[in-house]
C-alpha cells in the first residue's frame, strides 16, 4: 500500500504572490479583534471577575425557569443559569457581590440553602474580588513574559528579522484567538488563558519549522531571489505543517467532543488557535521577512575567499 501524501510531493503554491491579500485579511482580523475587545469586551469567568459558580445535578431534567425564579428572588444581582452538557446538569453563576470576601461567602451560602437537598452540588467555586484582580494581572504578565522569552530565544537562534516576524505572527495569533472569545462570547477563564498560551507555543513551533528551512536554503541556494526562496521553503515544509496540525487537531477534536463540558471552552480555544497558528506561520510570518528586508548574511570566511579569488 502506498502511504497517503496529504500534500503532493511536487507542490508549488506561490504564497508570496498572495501576500498582500494575507496582510489585509490578517490586519482586518486583528483590528476587528482589538476593536471588539475594547467595545464588547471579553466574557470573563469568575476566575478573573470574582464571583460564584455552582454546578448542580438535578433529579431528572432541570427546570431552568423554576431555578431562575428561586435564585432570582435572593437579591444577589445577576444570576446566570444554563444547562451544562446534560439536561440534568446546570451551571449557576453569580456576579461578584458588592462588598468584601465575606459578602461572597454569604451569597454562596444563600444559594446552597435555596437549592435545598433535592439537588447534588457537583462543583462550587468562589473567587473573591482580591484574588480575581490578582489572577487577571498574573495572566496578563504571563502572556507578555512568554512572548518576550520566545522572542529572545528566536533572536539568539536566528537573525533579528526572524525574531520580529515570529513575534508579530504570535501576537497576531494571540489577538485573533482572544477576538474569537469576544465574538463567540465563550467564557474566558484561567483554563482558556492557558489555552491561549499554548496556542502561542504551538504557533511559534510551526513558524520555527519554516524559518529553519529558510535559514537552511539561504545557505544552500545562494543565487535564488529571496521571495522564491521563501516560497520554496514554505512549500517544502507544507506537508509537515499540515500533517502536524492535522494530527493535533484529530486529538483535540476527540477531546472537544468527548472530553466533557468542563474543558470544552479550553479545547475550543486550542482548536481555533491551531488553525490560526498554522495560517499565520505559512501566510504571515514568512512573507513578513520580505517586509523586514531579510538579507543573506555571507559568512566572513567565505567573503574572504571570494575577495581572494
Amino acid at each position: 500500500m502506498k502511504p497517503l501524501h496529504l500534500i503532493p510531493d511536487d507542490v508549488n503554491i506561490p504564497f508570496l504572490k498572495f501576500r498582500k491579500i494575507f496582510y489585509i485579511a490578517s490586519l482586518l482580523m486583528v483590528l476587528a479583534s482589538v476593536g471588539m475587545f475594547f467595545t464588547k469586551g471579553l466574557n470573563f469567568g469568575i476566575d478573573f471577575r470574582g464571583g460564584i459558580l455552582v454546578e448542580i445535578k438535578t433529579n431528572g431534567p432541570a427546570d431552568i425557569n423554576a431555578l431562575r425564579d428561586n435564585l432570582g428572588s435572593l437579591g444577589l444581582g445577576d444570576v446566570s443559569i444554563q444547562e451544562f452538557g446534560e439536561p440534568d446538569d446546570v451551571l449557576i453563576q453569580l456576579q461578584r457581590q458588592d462588598g468584601d470576601e465575606e459578602a461572597q461567602m454569604a451569597a454562596l451560602a444563600a444559594v446552597t440553602n435555596a437549592l435545598g437537598d433535592d439537588v447534588t452540588i457537583r462543583r462550587s467555586e468562589l473567587v473573591g474580588p482580591k484574588v480575581g484582580g490578582e489572577l487577571k494581572e498574573a495572566g496578563f504578565y504571563s502572556v507578555v513574559i512568554s512572548l518576550f522569552l520566545i522572542m529572545v530565544y528566536i533572536w539568539v537562534r536566528f537573525e533579528w528579522q526572524f525574531a520580529v516576524a515570529s513575534v508579530v505572527a504570535l501576537l497576531h495569533d494571540v489577538l485573533i484567538t482572544i477576538g474569537f472569545f469576544v465574538i463567540t462570547g465563550v467564557q474566558f477563564d484561567l483554563a482558556t488563558l492557558a489555552a491561549v498560551l499554548t496556542v502561542a507555543g504551538y504557533s511559534i513551533n510551526d513558524t520555527v519549522v519554516v524559518f529553519d528551512r529558510i535559514r537552511e536554503y539561504l545557505r544552500k541556494f545562494r543565487k535564488m531571489e529571496i521571495p522564491d526562496l521563501l516560497d520554496l521553503s514554505i512549500n517544502s515544509t507544507l506537508s509537515r505543517t499540515t500533517m502536524t496540525s492535522f494530527t493535533t487537531l484529530l486529538a483535540l477534536i476527540a477531546l472537544f467532543v468527548f472530553g466533557g463540558e468542563a474543558i470544552r471552552g479550553f479545547t475550543m480555544a486550542l482548536i481555533f488557535g491551531i488553525v490560526i497558528g498554522t495560517y499565520s506561520s505559512i501566510c504571515v510570518a514568512s512573507p513578513l521577512l520580505i517586509v523586514l528586508r531579510l538579507k543573506r548574511k555571507i559568512p566572513e570566511a567565505e567573503e574572504g575567499q571570494e575577495a581572494g579569488a
Partner: protein
Amino acid sequence: MLYFTKWKAALVLLVCALGVIYAAPNFLPSGTLATESSYLPGKQINLGLDLRGGSHMLLEVDTDSVLRERYDALADAIRTELRQEQIRNRPREATANGAEITILRADDVEKAREIARTAEPNTELSGEGNNIVVTYNEVAYRELIDRAIAQSLEVVRRRVDELGTTEPSIQRQGENRIVVQVPGLDDPSRLRDILGRTAKMNFHLVNNEKTAADARATGLPPGTMILPSADEGDGIREYLIDRRIVVSGDNLVDSQPTFSDGRPVVSFRFDAAGGARFGDITSKNAGRGLAIVLDGEVISAPRINEPILGGNGIITGQFSVQEANDLSLLLRAGALPAPMQILEERSVGPGLGQDSVEAGEFAAVLGLVFVIAFMVISYGRFGVYADIALMMNLILVLAVMSVLQATLTLPGIAGIVLTVGMAVDANVLIFERIREERRNGRTIINAIDAGYRSAMSTILDANITTLIAALVLFSFGSGPIKGFAVTLAIGIITSMFSAIWLTRLLIAAWVKRSRPTELVI
C-alpha cells in the same frame, strides 16, 4: 549514524523498561498496590482535586488585626509607665500603624518620648508635637507576622484534622496566606464553617447596674461594653458586659458536644489555673450573669447559681447538633491568633471528578486511536514505528509523573492529549525529511540518516519554544493550570526521547535485519 553502539541501544531500551515499570502502578487498582505488587514501585499519579473531588481554599490571615492588638497592648504598657512618672496622656484609637499616645502637657513630651523609646526593644519612635508613635522595626514586624501565620497554620491543621479526611494539605503561601486542600470532602460548607471562624472564646461578667438598652440611652458605665447576642431566639438582642475577661478560652483543655435536657450543648474543661479562676469567680458572683463570648458575640449568659469548682462546665445556647459539634471542635482546636478571610474556594464533588476522569480517558484514547491510524496511513511501516514511540511516550509521561508525584488535573489530561498530537510532530518532521532526501536521489540509509540529522535542530527549536510557554504557565498558574503546564512540559521532553531515539533504534534494527532495497514512506 544509523549504527547504534550496543550500550546506546541498551540505554534506550533501559529507559523504556524503567518507564514501563514506573508507569505500571497506575494501571492497577489502588487497593492491590500495597500487597500483591510489592516488587513494583508503589507510587501512582497524584490526582488533582478537580479529578478526585475535594476542596481547595485560599485564606488570608488578617495581620492588621494582629498588629492592632499588639500596638494596643504596647500603648497600654507605655501609658502605665507614663502614669508612674505622672505624665498625663490620652490614648488614641488602636491602629495597625503603631501605638499612638497624645501627651497632654508640652513640657512632658521630651521625657515621655524617652520612656516610649525604651518601652520595648526593636521599636522605632516617631510622631510630631505632642503625639508619640511607636512602631515595630522590620525584624520585629517580620517575627510578629511569621509567628501569627505559624500559629494560624497550626490551628487550621488541628481543625482540618478533626474532619477526619485523609491527606489534607495545609501550606503557607506568600506573606499572609494559607492554602488548604482537602481531598474527598463531601460537604465543603462544613470546611467553610470551621475555617471561617476565629473561635476566640472568653468569659465576661454581665453588668448588673443597667441593661444594654439603658446603657445605650444614658451612656456606658466605665469598663463595660455592649455586645450583640449570637442568637436572638431568646428575645435578648444585646448584652452589657464588663470589659474585663474573667476566664479566657486559652485555659480550655477539652470540649465535647453533649446533651442537656435533651438539647445539644457543649461541655468544656479548664486547665488547673483556669479551673481555679473559674471557681473563684463563680463563688464570688452568685446571682450575676456570666456571658460566654465567642468572636464578639454572646452565645449565652446563664446566671451563676452556685460555685462551679471542678473546672468543668457546659455552654447552653440555641445549638443544632451540628453547631454543637462544630463549636466543640473549634474550642478543642483553639482560637486563631487573628481572623481569616476566605479569598477563594473551589470544591468538586466526587461524582464530577470521576466523570471527568472517565471523559478525559475516553477522549485521550480516542484521540490516540485516530492519530495512530493516521500515522500508519501516512507513513506505512514508519508510521508503525512512530506509533510505538507514541505509546512509549505516554507511558513515559505517566512514569515521570508518578516518580515526581506531579499532580494530574483535568487540564492536565488535555495537556496529555495535546502531547499525543504534538509528539508525532518530531516524527513527521523526520519522515518528511526522509521523503525529501529520497526524492533528491539519496540512498536509503543515507536518506534516513540525513532525515534524522537535519530534522534535529528544527525539533529542538520547535520544542524549546513550546517548553518556554509551558514553564511560564507553570510559574504563574494555580492548581489546575499548573497541572496542564506540568504534563505539557513532561510530554515535550519525553517525546524528544521517544520520537528521536526510539524510532531511530527501531528503524536501524529493521534496516539491519531486512536490508531494504526500496523505501516506502
